[in-house]
Symmetry: C2
Subunit: 209 residues, 2 copies
């Protein structure tokens, strides 16, 4: 599958490397490919390109951009992304007052919904934003992940990809408004990271009986 | 132990019944004991009394009141609760716009912190607000619960009680500010309840390796 991974942070790099390893044709989109290439020459076999070049002809777009910038970047690409499936891993973290970050949208709205409203031509699927990057692409044997989105076909594509990287318990939470709960999980995730002294944990939903 | 359970909703009734079963001396505090008694005659062996009578001489107070009213009720009892340990199960749910509820405090503050600030003579321990009432008092074999609070001795008392009712993985998230994450988990909990068609689930924190 031709995958465009937008963003060159920890999340974007993890997905680019893993999907390349699995045989997908991955192009990493970045504001300035030359600068990104200078920072790291490897890129695990994935090509670096401008955002516009990366999304051209992509079957799936991975939004691994920071929550603060992704709406602007995707809006600029909108004409090329009519009908595109966007796996949205972003979180609306606001670090302006330091650590811990607060959420710049929450409770009665979410970043997932905001993106879907602003860009109705794209099909957003909120996914794996509740996990550390390394576990998003190489999940432990136990643990649950979640998807949310308005388009069933788009969700099926994302669920297929998550299955391919190794996720076994993928819970469909329904439409894109479930992004609220998924993004509002971040404060608990951050406290757990502090208490456990590691980001390498996951949560498993246990159904008794 | 003399336990005062404040509140006669699902959560208060579950704790009153379970702690009585375990041999504790439980008094359930309610606004009008006669009215509560008429609604249900059983009360599983626990006595019903006014809020003030219930907390007199209690070793532990269980805040099983609704988020909307608990600050007022506890404030009125403050003179009797100097130094008291309060296990706070409340969630700041606002149902004024229907379902799903929103949170009337979040992100940069929490109900747990608000109570601790308003009532500095009490020692609040946020606990088990992430679980359905029935699982709070009779946990499944797998699953994690969380505590948060500023007073280590108070937390130890609550952890002891949680252990007694059957919790096995009790994670201390640190001071009372962790209430933010614990209360902001509710929107995800509500979506999971919808997706799983049951409230009888829990989450387990899985540490790989």
């Amino acid at each position: 599958m031709r995958v465009a991974v937008l963003g060159t942070g920890t999340v974007g790099r993890a997905w680019a490397a893993r999907l390349t390893e699995l045989g997908h044709d991955v192009v990493v989109g970045t504001r300035d490919p030359a600068v990104s290439r200078e920072r790291d020459e490897g890129w695990a076999g994935a090509r670096l390109a401008t955002f516009a070049e990366a999304v051209a002809g992509a079957d799936l777009v991975v939004n691994a951009l920071s929550g603060a910038v992704c709406e602007d970047v995707l809006t600029a690409l909108a004409p090329s992304l009519e009908g595109a499936v966007v796996m949205d891993i972003s979180n609306p973290l606001d670090f302006s007052a330091g650590f811990p970050p607060t959420l710049f949208v929450k409770d009665t709205d979410s970043l997932g919904e905001r993106l879907q409203r602003a860009l109705p031509g794209m099909r957003f699927v909120k996914a794996v934003n509740t996990l550390n990057a390394s576990l998003q692409v190489r999940p432990p044997t136990e643990g649950s992940v979640f998807v949310a989105g308005d388009d069933e076909q788009a969700k099926a594509l994302v669920v297929g990809l998550l299955t391919e990287v190794g996720h076994r318990d993928i819970i469909d939470l329904g439409d894109i408004t479930a992004s609220r709960g998924l993004e509002m999980f971040l404060p608990l995730w951050l406290r757990l990271m502090g208490a456990l002294h590691t980001a390498e944990f996951t949560i498993k939903v246990v159904r008794p009986g």
